[in-house]
């Protein structure tokens, strides 16, 4: 844990602040709309239920009026995204490369990805939950802001390939999409397979859609890694701990899809639990296999 007193650090903290503020304003907007929580303090998330009605839909109030507080939350969220982009570009200029070389830079990329992904999901897949995306966005800033060092090291020979950026970026996109899937899956576990609002997919369906959309980038990450490994290390699969974890992740997804095919929405809570398991295995692959001393392999770089 170290606070970064640099320009980059300042940008990260500012992004974090905006995301967090957007989340708090969203909570406030919903508290204003929902009569049962009006008396609750806006920041009290313990009492506040998960997105029963997503904050976006509260833009239009009960009387048909536009809720200015909710709009303000979205403006803050978009401003956070702009700052995240500025942070990312600043880092890119500083390292003179695509900043995806280590965990620090991978999280910077996820800070940027969260807003476009939550907008795409809202627009095209009828999956909401931006309020929680705002919180997740602020949470993603913790890693580069306080935990990882911003050390710059030029790319080692093994990392110099055109496959590197697509490989990491694909995994980052899949991870952010799976974060959204997990939020929906937790909703299923808490409220059951209900729809959070009019014109919105039911929570189980939303989970399934998110998992479906994240599967191609996940596969792409795995396979680009395979091809890269063939050109760098001579084997496309070398049974390295990180590779084994990523295979485990992929097989968990495969199990989810087959189970969903077999039973459909018959057991929504089971489906949600498996989707959450997918996310847990992704996180294990991302952190544990990289950082733990238990796995000594060719992947231990970050």
């Amino acid at each position: 844990m170290a606070i970064k007193y640099t320009r980059l650090g300042g940008l990260i903290y500012a992004t974090m602040g905006l995301y967090l503020l957007a989340f708090l304003v969203s909570v406030l907007a919903r508290a204003m709309k929902s009569p049962r929580t009006t008396s609750e303090p806006p920041g009290d998330r313990g009492v506040d239920p998960p997105p029963d009605v997503p904050p976006g839909s509260s833009t239009v109030g009960r009387a048909g009026r536009i809720n200015p507080v909710a709009v303000f939350a979205h403006v803050l969220y978009a401003a956070g995204f702009v700052l995240a982009v500025v942070t990312y570009i600043d880092r890119a200029i500083e390292v003179n490369n695509v900043p995806l070389q280590n965990l620090f830079e991978a999280f910077l990329a996820m800070m940027v990805l969260i807003w476009p992904i939550s907008m795409i999901c809202r627009r095209f897949f009828a999956v909401r939950g931006e309020m929680w995306d705002m919180l997740i966005g602020a949470g993603l800033c913790v890693m580069p802001g306080f935990i990882r060092d911003a050390d710059i090291s030029p790319a080692r020979p093994a990392l110099q390939t055109a496959l590197f950026v697509p490989h990491v970026l694909a995994y980052m996109i899949a991870t952010v999409l799976m974060i959204k899937a997990t939020i929906q899956a937790i909703g299923v576990l808490v409220y059951g397979d209900t729809s959070p609002g009019a014109n919105l997919a039911s929570r189980e369906t939303a989970t399934y859609r998110m998992v479906c959309i994240s599967f191609p980038p996940l596969t792409a990450g795995l396979i680009l890694g395979c091809i890269w490994a063939k050109y760098a290390w001579s084997d496309f699969w070398s049974w390295d701990p990180k590779e084994q974890w990523s295979l485990s992740t992929w097989m968990t997804f495969v199990a989810y899809f087959h189970m969903r095919y077999m039973f459909g929405r018959k057991h929504p809570k089971l489906n949600a639990a498996v989707a959450i398991t997918c996310m847990v295995v992704i996180l294990l692959t991302l952190f544990w296999a990289n950082l733990s001393a238990a796995f000594k392999g060719i992947h231990s770089y970050a």
């Binding site: 095209f124 093994a158 396979i223 084994q244 968990t252 969903r260 796995f295």
Partner: protein, 673 residues
């Protein structure tokens, strides 16, 4: 039909359980490490499981028409089958089975350590216990490392040691107390330069940002700024590589400049004195008189080889001893060559020349000023003695020693030179010089031609290395630091005198403060460059130009030592040449991520001798099954995008239902359940 439904349900259940099991096994195998995981997943039970998995995928394609109807699902499942097939064909067991249909056994995987230019066929396994043989030979013609320019951060180690000392009168006794055979056991008074470390060495390791100023320890107001750090390319000047004077010393390099002189050997065994006359192009032809030999003929037409023409004289020389008093050189055969040896303490006074070390002073005919040559072992010089006519002589300093002069018992007017220990009474510093008279022959040297001169009783070899032969320039890359030294302010003269008077008043001299002031006064400013040997932190290089090198108290010291880490490696490269049936069949530069492919094998850059670039490690892997696996993984990847991204968008575009695409796998055939 009901039968079919049952089979499908069973297959789905087996798939579900199987994928969960594989996920668990895969995660567990992360705990046992790469090598054990390889053994586990290549063991017989797992081999059967892989086969079963392939069979299940094929059965799924047969039993579920939807898998064939949906192009995305078809691509995913066919891709999996192909990937598994490719993996199985490329596995050790798969290759063994496939070798049964081949006429030769293929090498599965291995490593090669390729030395400079030497071809190799053998491939070792990881433990270097088994050897396989490739059907062709691999040679590394050249290997080199590219470094990043040192932009990001620079780590500099600064060591400061300041030596100080003064002349002291000491009384010397005989070497052993009980031994009365010494020259005078009452003791002699002589002056000794007592050296001591006035300041403890300080080692500081700085993280030095490029172009950032820093204070140096022990200097007042002196700042240093590193302006550049790079790997210096090898010298581009051509040179002659001379045999090393001893077994432990490296070969001597002489720049191949016209007029350059050098000597090989000593006067006892005979001495080869050379002078480079010209650099020419030559070609080789059979020697006209000596059968089986070749000779080099000058030929400036294109296609020739670069060479250097050396004027040589091979002589038995004579050794002369000079001291400060003996100006005439007492040789064994009494040819007098006037020269005088001046040891370092008085060198400046005696010659008026800017020579810091001991020198040899010899009169030069036709000149007012004498010739002054630094007295360093191995130093060659030409001189024209006045008393021995017009002959040009070549001298080479053989050693620095101490001698004692004694009267010759046979003829008392003559004196005899006897070697002595430095501590003996009456011993004085002396120098031995080999003097030869050149008799000319001419020889040409080209790369690849090593002249062997056996006339001197031992083979002597000389190699000419033209500048544009990068292979021979290996190991000559040097990291170089450029930096700027400035004084923020000059120490005022008042401050200086105040300090001196304080020192005179007593109370013990504060040497550290004094030296700090002194060093600040003596630091030269401006842009400097130092070269660090081999890029290793040690041995470091003295930065003696920071101080005035004539300052008495630090002449022997190393005021500051800079050592830098190597800059990060950008790329390892090896130029591989493959020969089959004495013909070159392939040639390619390999680097990490860019293997070479030839004859069913991939060659990977996997290791390097970073210090001397003497060898490169190549790993060799058979390409069996790779193409099938590559098609498989690409099909699988394409299938996922097609099924989960393209198809929903396509369907949504055709009939926009509620602004959201239909669920990709929504027709849930619930296994008939």
């Amino acid at each position: 039909m009901r039968h079919m439904v049952k089979v499908r349900r069973v297959l789905l259940w087996v798939t579900l359980v199987g994928s969960v099991n594989l996920a668990q096994l895969s995660a567990l195998s992360a705990f046992i490490g790469e090598a054990k995981a390889w053994v586990l997943f290549n063991s017989v039970p797992l081999m059967l499981a892989w086969l079963a998995l392939t069979g299940m995928l094929i059965a799924g394609l047969v039993l579920f028409p939807r898998l064939v109807r949906c192009p995305g699902l078809l691509a995913m499942h066919v891709g999996c089958v192909l990937t598994l097939l490719g993996g199985m064909l490329g596995s050790k067991a798969g290759m063994k089975i496939m070798d049964a249909w081949r006429d030769h056994k293929r090498v599965f995987k291995g490593a090669m350590q390729l030395y400079d230019g030497r071809p190799k066929r053998n491939v070792t396994d990881e433990r270097e216990q088994q050897f396989d043989v490739l059907p062709f030979e691999v040679r590394c013609e050249r290997c080199w490392i590219e470094y990043y320019p040192y932009e990001h951060k620079l780590s500099v180690q600064v060591t400061e040691t300041v030596k100080t000392g003064r002349w002291e009168s000491v009384t010397e006794h005989a070497p052993h107390d009980g031994d009365h055979s010494g020259p005078d056991h009452a003791g002699h008074v002589r002056e000794v330069f007592k050296e001591k470390l006035a300041v403890e060495s300080e080692v500081k390791r700085f993280k030095w940002k490029l172009n950032a100023w820093r204070d140096l320890p022990l200097t007042d107001g002196v700042k240093i700024r590193v302006t550049g750090f790079r790997i210096q390319e090898p010298v581009t000047e051509p040179f002659l590589l001379l045999p090393s004077p001893s077994r432990h010393a490296p070969p001597r390099k002489v720049p191949a400049r016209v007029g350059q002189q050098f000597g090989i050997g000593s006067s006892h065994a005979g001495m080869l004195v050379g002078r480079i006359r010209a650099r020419r192009w030559v070609r080789w032809e059979p020697h006209p008189t000596e059968p089986g030999q070749i000779r080099l003929v000058p030929d400036d037409r294109p296609g020739g080889s670069p060479a250097v023409v050396v004027e040589e004289s091979l002589l038995r020389g004579r050794t002369y001893v000079y001291t400060q008093k003996i100006a005439d050189g007492l040789g064994k055969d009494a040819v007098l060559i006037p020269a005088r040896y001046v040891p370092q303490a008085e060198a400046k006074k005696a010659t008026g020349a800017e020579q810091p070390g001991p020198v040899i002073v010899t009169p030069l005919r036709g000149h007012d000023k004498p010739l002054v040559v630094p007295a360093e072992v191995g130093q060659d010089f030409t001189f024209m003695p006045t008393r021995s006519g017009t002959r040009r002589l070549i001298g080479r300093i053989r050693k620095l020693c101490f001698v004692r002069l004694e009267s010759d018992p046979d003829s008392p007017e003559k004196r005899r030179v006897i070697e002595a220990e430095g501590s003996e009474v009456g011993a004085e510093p002396a120098v031995e010089i080999d003097v030869v008279e050149p008799r000319r022959t001419e020889n040409a040297y080209a790369p690849g031609v090593t002249a062997r001169l056996r006339k001197m009783g031992q083979p002597v070899s000389m190699v000419y290395i033209p500048a544009d032969d990068p292979q021979k320039m290996r190991g000559m890359q040097r990291p170089v630091i450029t930096f700027e030294v400035t004084r923020r302010r000059m120490p005022g003269i008042k401050e200086y005198w105040a300090l001196l008077s304080e020192l005179q008043r007593g109370g013990g001299p504060d040497v550290k403060t004094f030296l700090r002031l002194l060093s600040a006064l003596r630091i030269r400013t401006g842009e400097k460059t130092i070269t660090i040997s081999k890029g290793r932190p040690s041995p470091p290089v003295a930065l003696d130009f920071l101080y005035d090198s004539q300052a008495q108290w630090d002449r022997a010291g190393r005021p500051y030592v800079f050592a830098a880490d190597k800059p990060p490696v950008k790329e390892y490269n090896s130029l591989l040449v493959i020969r089959k049936d004495d013909r070159e069949v392939a040639r390619s530069v390999i680097e990490v991520n860019h293997p070479m492919h030839y004859g069913g094998y991939h060659f990977y850059q996997s290791g390097f001798d970073e210090e001397d670039l003497a060898y490169t490690y190549i790993s060799v892997k058979s390409d069996a099954g790779w193409l099938i696996a590559l098609i498989g993984v690409l099909t699988l990847m394409g299938g996922t995008f097609l099924h989960f991204w393209v198809e929903p968008v396509w369907r949504a575009a055709k009939g926009r239902r509620g602004g959201s695409p239909d669920e990709p796998g929504s027709p849930a055939v619930e296994g008939g359940g």
